[in-house]
Each structure stands twice: as structure tokens, then as C-alpha cells.
Symmetry: C2
Subunit: 358 residues, 2 copies
């Protein structure tokens, strides 16, 4: 399959998903407060890449014998994702996402513009980000529950989103916070991997299982394919994360969106940096530890840290890991899905997870 | 029906509900982070009064032709309620609830005890309150989705919790925040009533409708009784709130739990205080406005404010309003439900909402 064909299909899914989301949010008469409505809907105003809805949709089509209704579920995972992002952003004090102000910043700007000067605008912004995320999370489940499928399938995929997925994701976020407070000497690769499985993998796995369940018309726990595709999704998630960590150190700011070296200045706990620390000379370890988490690190220090990550072999090792994960994922795909267009789309989808250039 | 009989029944519902909740939370293997588990479960460690689960259960029994499965839904509304409380408490900076530390305080204490001294413990506490509330909210829906009933009933009551109820409640909380930032001169009784309908009434109405739906085996939107019982619940919620506002000014600290005069020191926007301000002499209005929201107000100032609320007739008017709402609610009950034990329990339930002594 040519890449253009894949991109056109991805685009058409994104269009359908955002059209569905837009109509649902606009017609929701139960949100009576304008600021809540504005902040709650802010991450869904502009179309995302829809990698999660696409995964769900392709999985559903790959196993379906006839046309099935996966659009509400595809819209629901996109909404669920943005609800968690709103809470993550206020927790992590991130002020921008995809170049736009995050939810708590939007709320702060509203307060500065419309409320009396003595109001604590930053605090008002945080409140709106909490309530806005809560709203989108509920709206996501409401969307999922519109799916037209067998009752036992609907019950299973809804319980999984509200229960297992939610708990895994929140555990991943909490572990991320905990890791950021843990000294490097006590950080293990296993813990970082566990955090990534929660923060990134859980939702991807959910998309794969749910797509299969809707396509097969049977709950994921009764399917022989759902578990395999969940593994596929988890592996792609790890590959994506490894690539993301490389981009966080070596990425081109203009293409990647994040300031170069921000992962270094934040002291972000990544497999990449942990391996660099483990393989560095004593002098290099010392200078790495001195710059990691140093918010005011200068360009020279950042470049020195990057050079260490390269010469310890960590850059190469993590790039290899990313590739190995994708290859494992593709092998699962090859073995478990029938040939056809959806399978070809899923292959492209997996490759696209690591295709962003450093 | 004698009060003891009602209390015994309420107690037995609370026991079943908390047993169900406890088992669900303890067996949830998807929460892998101990702090998230501890804070998420903290409000459910000690049995609450279970007024919401009781309302749902009685409504369900009042219209059921045979035994029906309302326990998961009863547990779900209690869980949902505590999830919203966790976020409300961190938003309102309330440090205690029912005499125990709130979620963000629990989180802060955990950080102080177990994390390095340089960690911002208060911030860590807020993070845990956000994630903990998210967890309980999802777990509530997961619980609700265990209900064994007709698929169209399950879909409807689940969509209502995640969609309508959630949006109404969040709008009420957001309006509460907005009102607290609005000068008294711009506060209207209508806005306060709207806030109460969102913050208190929406969940009570949901309990009533959902109980009826499970009992009748038909979605609330197809029932002739669900809407009536929703009105009943809303009226009881308003009556409760009026009584609560009286207690917030005139209540006995030892019985009521809140420090006397805290509503005055917070400058809480209540119908009670708005009516006092509207009916007070110019001098009294001036001295009321001077003390409302004054955190360090002394005992004499508080007592002076209380005296004004009484002599303007606001105390009497709001007590009368509370009684009128309950009577309207009881008339709805009388007219729409068949005679029997559940109806008698619901009568007691309505009376108990305003029975707490000033």
C-alpha cells in the first residue's frame, strides 16, 4: 500500500471522528457554564492526528464480517485521551500543547479577560482544567455508550474504559509523577517501562481490543485475536515512546514542537537517559547528572549532554529497541490477521508510529 | 412507619452498599500505585449515611413488580458522589470532611511521611486528589455497568450518569466557583437556586430516576413515574440545602461538624444571606457586607451578623421555604407511588433531609 492511500484513509477517519465529536459537544445542553464549555472543548477544537481512533477503526474492519458501527467508539477514545491530557497538563504545569495554550492556561486567560482583577487567575485556570477534564471524560463514556452492538460487547468495552483502562492510565500518570521525584540512582528501566505501559500503552491496547470486539461482535475476553492485537498495540506504544525520547533530545524543534533539550532540562526519566548514565564514564556521569533537571542549563551544557548520550551508545541502543518493537508488532500482525486492506493500513499505522524524523 | 424501622433499613442498605464498594476497590488489580489506591479509596473507608443509595433503592422497590438488582447502581451513586467531593475539596481548599482529612491533605501527609523533604508536599497532595477523584469516577461507572437489567435500561442509565448528570454537576460546581467571585450586588436568588440544582439536586434526581428505571425495567425517558420522582428528589435537595444554609449560620458546631459562622467568614452565597441583605436596613446591610468573607471575623461580629439574619426575617423565611419544598415533595410522592413499605420509607427519607436540628 502506498503511503498516500494510508494518509487519505487516516484523514477520512479523522474527519468523521471530529465531525461526530463536534456535533456531540455542541448539542450538549447540560453544560450551562460558558467557561466550562469553552475549556472542556478546547482540545477538541482542532483536529488531532487521530492515531488512536484509526487503530480502533482498522482493527474493527480487519475482523468484521460485515459493516459495523465503530465510529462512536473511535470518537470516544479520542475524547478520553484529551480528558486525560487536560489533567496531565495541569499536573505537569505544561503551558502549551501542539503550540496552543493548555486547558489551565485557557482558563487563566478567561479569568484575566472577564473576571475582576483581584481574582487569582492561575488558580481559576486550574479549577477549569480539573472540571473540564472531568467533563470530557464523562462525555467520552457517553459517546462510547452510543455504540450499536451486542449488549454484552457494549457492557464489556464500557466497563473496560471506565475501570481497567482508567486505572492503568492513572497509575501510569501517578508513577510518572513519582519517578520525577525519584533520584536517578533509584530509577530502574523496569519502572520506566511500566510507566510507559500505563501512560501510552494502555489506551492503545484498549483501542485495539475494542476495535476487534466491535468487529467480531464478541467481548474482548472471549476473542482469540483481541489479546494479540493488544500486544501489537503495546509494542507500537513502546516503539513510539522510544522514538519520542530520542526526539526529546535530538529532535528538530521546528518539526517536533518541543524546545530542544527540554527533556534534559526537565530531567525526564527515560530509558535513553538511564542507559546513557549506566554506560557513561565517571566524568560523563557526573556532568550528565549536573545538567539533568537544571532548568537554566545553557546551550553548551545541552550539547555536551547530547554528545554523551550518543557516545555511550544509548542513542543507538534505543533506536534499535524502537525498531525491534515495531518489528515484533508487525510479526504479530502478520500472523494473526487475515490479508486485506485493513491489515495493510495497520502495517502503515505501526510504521507511522516511529516514522517521525529525528 | 416508626423512625427506628426506617433507620434499620437505611443501615442495612448502607451495609450492603459499602460491602460491595469495599470488595470492588480491594479486588481492583489495575491500580498499581499505592498512593493512588490509598487516596482514591479514602472517602470510602468509612461508611457514609448513604442517603443517595437509599433513595435509589427505595425508588426501585416502590415500582418493582419483582426483585430487581439495584445494588450496583446504589453503590455506583455513592462512589460517583465521593469522586466529585474529592475534586470539590481540592478546588475549595477544604481540609476536612466529616472530621477527617480530605484527599489532597491525605496526599500531602503521604508526601511528608514518605517522600524526600524537597518535594512540594501540598502540590503532591493536589495531584493525588485529582487522580484519585478520576479513579473513583471511573470505578463508579464500572460499578453501575454491572447492573443486571434490560440492555436499553443499562445503556440509558449509564449514558445519563456519564453525560447529563456529570455535566449538570460540573456546571453546578463551576457556577459555585463563579458565584464566590461575584460581588453580592450582582448575585441573584435564581443563580443560587441554579447552582443548588446542579450541585445537590442533579445527583438526587439521578438516583430517583435510575431507581425507578431499574424497578420498572424501562428507561427513565419512557417512564411516567421517573420524571415525577426526579421532581420529588429535586425538591428534597432544595429543602436540604436551605436547612444546610441555616445550620451553616445557626448550627451547633458539636452536632453539625462545621465551625459556627464558617459560612459567614467564607462569604458563602446562600439564599439565606441574600434575603437578609435584601431586607436589612442600610446600617445592617453595611455591617453584614463588612463581615461576609472576612476570614478573621471575631465572635462578636459573627453574632451580630446572625442577629441581623434573624431580625430581617430571612431565617424564618428560609425555614418556611425548606418546609414548603418538603411538603411539595411529599405531595408528589403521595400522588404518584402505590402504597406500601417503600413509599413509607421514602416519606421518612424526605423528612430526614430536613430533620437535622439547628
Amino acid at each position: 500500500m502506498r503511503e498516500e492511500e494510508y494518509k487519505a484513509e487516516l484523514n477520512s477517519i479523522a474527519e468523521a471522528v471530529y465531525d461526530r465529536i463536534k456535533r456531540a459537544l455542541q448539542s450538549d445542553g447540560f453544560v450551562t457554564e460558558p467557561h466550562l464549555r469553552e475549556v472542556g472543548g478546547s482540545y477538541l477544537e482542532h483536529r488531532g492526528k487521530c492515531l488512536r481512533p484509526a487503530l480502533l477503526t482498522f482493527c474493527s474492519r480487519a475482523v468484521a464480517e460485515s459493516e459495523c458501527d465503530s465510529l462512536p467508539a473511535a470518537a470516544a477514545v479520542e475524547m478520553f485521551h484529551t480528558g486525560t491530557l487536560m489533567h496531565d497538563d495541569v499536573i505537569d504545569h505544561d503551558d502549551f500543547r501542539r503550540g496552543r495554550p493548555t486547558a489551565h492556561v485557557r482558563g487563566r486567560l478567561l479569568a484575566e479577560k472577564e473576571l475582576p482583577a483581584e481574582v487569582d487567575a492561575a488558580e481559576y485556570g486550574s479549577v477549569l482544567a480539573i472540571l473540564g477534564g472531568d467533563y470530557v471524560f464523562g462525555a467520552a463514556l457517553d459517546m462510547l455508550l452510543r455504540t450499536q452492538c451486542a449488549p454484552e460487547v457494549l457492557r464489556s468495552i464500557s466497563r473496560r474504559m471506565a475501570g481497567k483502562l482508567n486505572a492503568e492510565l492513572l497509575s501510569g500518570e501517578q508513577l510518572d509523577v513519582r519517578l520525577s521525584l525519584t533520584p536517578w540512582s533509584a530509577v530502574t528501566e523496569e519502572t520506566i517501562m511500566q510507566m510507559m505501559r500505563g501512560k501510552t500503552g494502555a489506551l492503545l491496547a484498549y483501542c485495539a481490543e475494542t476495535g476487534v470486539a466491535i468487529g467480531e461482535g464478541r467481548p474482548p475476553e472471549e476473542s482469540s485475536i483481541a489479546g494479540k492485537m493488544s500486544d501489537f498495540a503495546h509494542l507500537c506504544g513502546l516503539a513510539f515512546q522510544m522514538k519520542d525520547d530520542l526526539l526529546g533530545i535530538f529532535g528538530d524543534e521546528s518539526k517536533f514542537g518541543k524546545p530542544i533539550g527540554s527533556d534534559i532540562r526537565e530531567g525526564k526519566r527515560t530509558v535513553l537517559m538511564l542507559r546513557a548514565l549506566q554506560n557513561a564514564s565517571n566524568a560523563d556521569t557526573k556532568s550528565l547528572l549536573a545538567v539533568l533537571g537544571k532548568k537554566e542549563a545553557n546551550q553548551e551544557e545541552i550539547e555536551n549532554a547530547r554528545a554523551i548520550v550518543t557516545r555511550t551508545g544509548a542513542e543507538k541502543a534505543v533506536a534499535d529497541l524502537s525498531e525491534a518493537y515495531v518489528n515484533q508488532a508487525l510479526a504479530i500482525l502478520e500472523k494473526n490477521l487475515p490479508a486485506g486492506n485493513p491489515k495493510a493500513y495497520l502495517r502503515q499505522w505501526a510504521l507511522s508510529m516511529v516514522a517521525r524524523s529525528v
